[in-house]
Amino acid sequence: MSSKPSEDQLLIRKIRDGIVIDHIPASKALTVLRLLKITGKEGLRVALVMNVESRKIGVKDIIKIEGRELSRDELSIIALVAPTATINIIRDYRVVSKFKVEVPDSIEGALRCLNTRCITNKPNEPIRTKFVTISRNPLIIKCHYCGTYYTEEDIEKML
């Protein structure tokens, strides 16, 4: 113990292989995990920090997931709830790639349609939901099947 660890190191140590999702708007980290369908039961080592200072966005959340690399497509849906998020792909303690998330043109399977009269809500039907992006700013997505529009505030209810 020679030097004093920084505040960040106090909270979470560096990961060897995996991803760091940085610059998540404060308090949205749990929603991001739900969106990625990470519950903890998968056995992945996950670290979560909420409400830490950020030079870029004031206060932010951070998620570190060890032992699993998600594809760019899988990660892009994070932009639905955390448009400021940046992704760092880590291999052997080093950042090998870094990018900002962007809402994809279509979102399949991750969200459910809130229209109870939509075919995707029919029980026992082998159907996967699909939403098409109409606008990114402000966010508007449309159910591919029933045509209902959804905005940013609807996303959490759709998880």
Binding site: T120, N121, K122, E125, P126, G147
Partner: protein, 312 residues
């Protein structure tokens, strides 16, 4: 090969003006066969799958297919089918796809026809899904306007009634957006105002529109008045329904201020929004509109089965 060949008919959005005009021209030629017979589709079977009741749409599809010499199989209502045993919609569609050459689907759930089209190899025709789409109704509505006024361009259209849930309205607006319509008046009680999805169609198409609660304020401008039923179950409060139904009735008195050439359309069935006395006026076209359902659907089936060149 026509662009119509083997096409799914899910939403009016998928068709352009040129294709609709091709349909109208053929429907006009089909009118003379709507009470006789054309042997165009003798080798074809049409499956008519109605998961929700209907009179006009189902019978006019069946009539159209029979007039063209084709055969019809199908059902109406879920009770008599394996769906009552718990069969999925997907499996029902797969089965019909094996038996028939095209499938007409009506379902109470929105997006059902689109889903069916993703499953079936043969063409799927949407005969109404929930409160979303009813493209073949819109095709015959537009045909009626084209036929009765000689054009769909440069007209002012008023749509009156339940603009929030009526699927015929959405499809009609989508269809009108393909033409150079002068203006659309959206007339409804506040509780049944059009949704953002509908206004978005108008805005994207650059069509001028105006929302109003009062038909009497705009009647003098209209070339077409399209009326839909206000369903009691759509309004949260029965008192509200009783109050509203009176103010959204088309009366002889209101029609006095209309242009001579105004045509009044209605997809039917009507309740009391169009009193029987309107039937006798020069404006009423809704029975003719219903009758056009047969030649329009004959034309549609002929195009989808790519037999338009065989029409004498």
């Amino acid at each position: 090969m026509s662009k119509w060949a083997s096409r799914d008919v899910i939403s009016m959005i998928d068709f352009d003006r040129e294709e609709l005009e091709e349909l109208f021209e053929l429907a006009l030629r089909m009118e003379k066969y709507a009470h006789s017979r054309l042997s165009l589709l003798e080798d074809k079977i049409l499956a008519v799958a109605f998961f929700e009741p209907s009179t006009r749409t189902r019978l006019s599809f069946e009539t159209a297919m029979l007039r063209l010499g084709g055969k019809v199989i199908g059902f109406s209502g879920e009770e008599a089918t394996s769906i009552a045993k718990g069969e999925s919609f997907a499996d029902t569609i797969r089965m019909l796809d094996v038996y028939a050459d095209a499938i007409v689907v009506r379902h109470y759930l929105e997006g059902a026809a689109k889903y069916a089209a993703e499953i079936a190899d043969n063409p799927v025709i949407n005969a109404g899904d929930g409160s979303q789409n009813h493209p073949t109704q819109a095709m015959l509505d537009l045909y009626t306007i084209w036929r009765e006024l000689g054009r769909v361009d440069d007209i002012t259209v008023g749509v009156l009634g339940d603009l929030k849930y009526a699927r015929t309205i959405r499809s009609l607006i989508e269809g009108l957006s393909k033409f150079r319509v002068r203006k659309i008046y959206l007339i409804s009680p506040p509780a049944l105002k059009p949704r953002k999805e509908l206004l978005d169609i108008l805005e994207r198409a650059g069509i001028r529109y105006e929302y109003t609660e009062r038909l009497q304020d705009v009647i003098q401008d209209l070339d077409v008045l399209y009326v839909v039923r206000i369903q009691r179950e759509r309004l949260p409060d029965p008192v509200e329904y009783e109050r509203i139904r009176g103010s959204y009735r088309v009366t002889i008195d209101v029609l006095r201020r209309a242009k001579d050439s105004l045509i009044v359309l209605h997809p039917l069935p009507r309740v009391d929004e169009l009193p029987y006395e309107i039937d006798q006026t020069k404006h009423a076209r809704y029975f003719r509109q219903a009758a056009y359902g047969v030649p329009v659907r004959m034309a549609l089936l002929t195009l989808i089965f790519d037999r338009a060149d065989k029409v004498p």
